[in-house]
Symmetry: C2
Subunit: 382 residues, 2 copies
């Protein structure tokens, strides 16, 4: 069972293995190491922010550049600095959402409640929905980018994000545009954006840890994780960054500033484990019984919630989080440990029988041993 | 992993395997098949209820008697008959509790609230507790039985119950005494009591599916499972049976009449699975994180509740429920299935790369394929 995946060790984020295995060098052509713990390109000084935007970056640089890359300075996450409301300009943001499915529409609601303008682009036609919600809809990302929004928010799925980002015509955007994502994994989009975006662009990686279901009654106290991966400290970019984050702060979210690396480590041990338990239980096809315990009912609800998400999301949590394979292995070892604890007791049970058969333990008429315990096998398990 | 326990298949209730395996025939001496789906002794006609009580039955009958035994008629559990309140006499019951730990004390509270007298016996000394709660305490089961209570309620642990029951001096009790249990498994005590009790004694197997924690604010709507295994329809035994069950009905429990066999089948697929998930997660030593999802918090709570019970209880749910091993195997197969679904996607990922390396797919300058998808590997997973 273990071996079925062990030879994929490290493939929790597949591209990482693509670089670590000489036998898969052909993958280097078009799979950069998006889950590596280093940036794919050193951060440029603020001055670079004024340089004209360049066309999309060429495919990933060779291995050597990865090895020489400079680590991204990450926030500790222990004491998130308060957002400076004073720094937030009064001009509403023009926020472009790329990928306008359920989640993009859900986020757009909060953006509009905070008085900002929403522009949306998607492969599917949401023109009717947008017309009803005072949102400008574009059938192509190119058309949306020609409007030069202040912030471009990528709301595509984990599996489609790389293709979506690589197809963005950055040269049509202002050179200090902020690009943000909302994926449930964070190192992958951080490294993807650092590689593909022109150097002057701002990068904010976020994970709103709620959705249309858990956030349908408001976003109050729901966790919003963010990492200001690359924001120039002078100019308007930092102000727009705070203005963007204030949307979620004003909606009442619990703002958690945390590095993408920390997020993925925590998420693999919590969110991925939770989804895995739900997926495993869904395979058992559990039913409600006339004698449900409260604990069993929480498992039934967990299973229902898990399968209401797509398997693509679960697979994304696994393949695009470098810590997921280790957590899956830990879960398997924990299950095996419990089986061993149960079988160990059975072995004790049998050994006691064999020994006592060879030398029967004297009992009194009431069936009690000298030690006061019953001579019965079950009682001897005490 | 599977093989570590597979050779124990059928040992979910160990004694059952003891009979099914020729290599363990020595176990037949003192391990009756308490989990078999048949009774160890045919039900006696009501007339037998008037016969004088006999001393404890001798050790389990030979295999042949098991094969010839008559099945216990079980209630369907679909439509539990309402308890006839009219049949309940006004005289309070005198209820003797054998095993007066936390659960015995918890049950005694409800018995007293319904106006019945409680007598208690336990290996540990609870004389002070009983003095404070108007309960007569006895240091031995013999002394308790000399008081001839109407109902003897066994509140010992699963693992100690056989020894406790075999040590009861039935000849000191009235010949129509009702003996009941409260174990979380039901076929085992049903068959144990049918084998060990004198024929005139009544047998009611119950499972209050709550305890001091879940029932601390009252027993309203909490499930109480019961099976009137052997109750003579005439005489006072049936009235005392209804009077005993009315304690839980009057406390507001959801009364679920169900055969012991049905209970164990349902419980293995719900309560045992729940305890197993809790035990497995406890091995992972899960911690709260700054980014807990609601689903993860339910798992943290489930783990906390599970480990608050003893491992002896969990082991009892496994070893004394003939359906538990099958459920453990199902859980293992479900886990393996999920791993296979994840690894299968990774295999697809690699195969696509190999094929496209041999015959590169043409792309336009924007990086889009003829089908409109990005040429990137991640996008090709769509």
């Amino acid at each position: 069972m273990a071996s079925s995946l062990r030879h994929f060790a490290g493939l929790g984020c597949f591209p990482a293995a693509a670089f670590s295995s000489g036998s898969t060098c052909f993958l280097r052509r078009d799979i950069p190491n998006f889950c590596a713990f280093v940036a794919l390109r050193p951060i440029r000084p603020p001055a670079a922010a004024t340089a004209p935007a360049k066309p999309p970056a060429s495919p990933s640089p060779p291995m050597e550049e990865h090895r020489q890359a400079v680590p991204i300075p990450c926030h500790s996450g222990d004491s998130p600095p308060a957002l400076s409301a004073a720094a937030v300009p009064k001009t509403p943001l023009r926020l472009g959402i790329v990928g306008f499915g359920n989640f993009g529409q859900f986020i757009a609601g909060g953006v509009q409640r905070q008085g900002h303008a929403v522009l949306a682009a998607s492969r599917s036609d949401y023109s009717d929905y947008c017309a009803r919600h005072d949102i400008r809809f574009f059938r192509s990302v190119d058309a949306l980018c020609e409007e030069q929004p202040d912030v471009l928010l990528i709301c595509s799925s984990i599996l489609s994000t790389e293709g979506v980002v690589r197809a963005i015509p950055f040269h049509k955007l202002r050179p200090d545009t902020i690009v943000a994502d909302v994926l449930s994994v964070k190192e992958f989009p951080r490294n993807l954006l650092l590689e593909v975006l022109p150097p002057g662009f701002g990068i904010i990686c976020t994970h709103p840890m709620f959705g249309p279901e858990s956030g349908k009654h408001g976003w109050g106290k729901l966790p919003f994780v963010f990492d200001k991966v690359r924001v120039t400290e002078d100019g308007v970019q930092v102000a727009k960054c705070d203005q963007f984050l204030s949307i979620f702060e004003q909606e009442g979210c619990r703002m958690v500033e945390m590095s993408c690396t920390e997020h993925d480590r925590y998420a693999a041990g919590s969110q991925f484990i939770t989804h895995t338990i739900g997926r495993v239980l869904s395979q058992l096809n559990l039913k409600s019984t006339p004698i449900n315990t409260k604990g069993y009912e929480t498992l039934l609800q967990l299973t229902k919630n898990t399968v209401s998400d797509s398997f693509d999301l679960y697979h994304g949590l696994f393949m695009y989080n470098i810590n997921a394979t280790e957590q899956l292995d830990n879960l398997e070892m924990a299950f095996e440990k419990v089986r061993q604890m149960l079988s160990g007791r059975l072995h004790d049970f049998i050994r006691k029988q064999i020994v006592e058969r060879a030398a029967p333990v004297p009992t009194d008429p009431s069936g009690k041993l000298a030690n006061g315990l019953s001579s019965s096998p079950a009682a001897r398990l005490l």
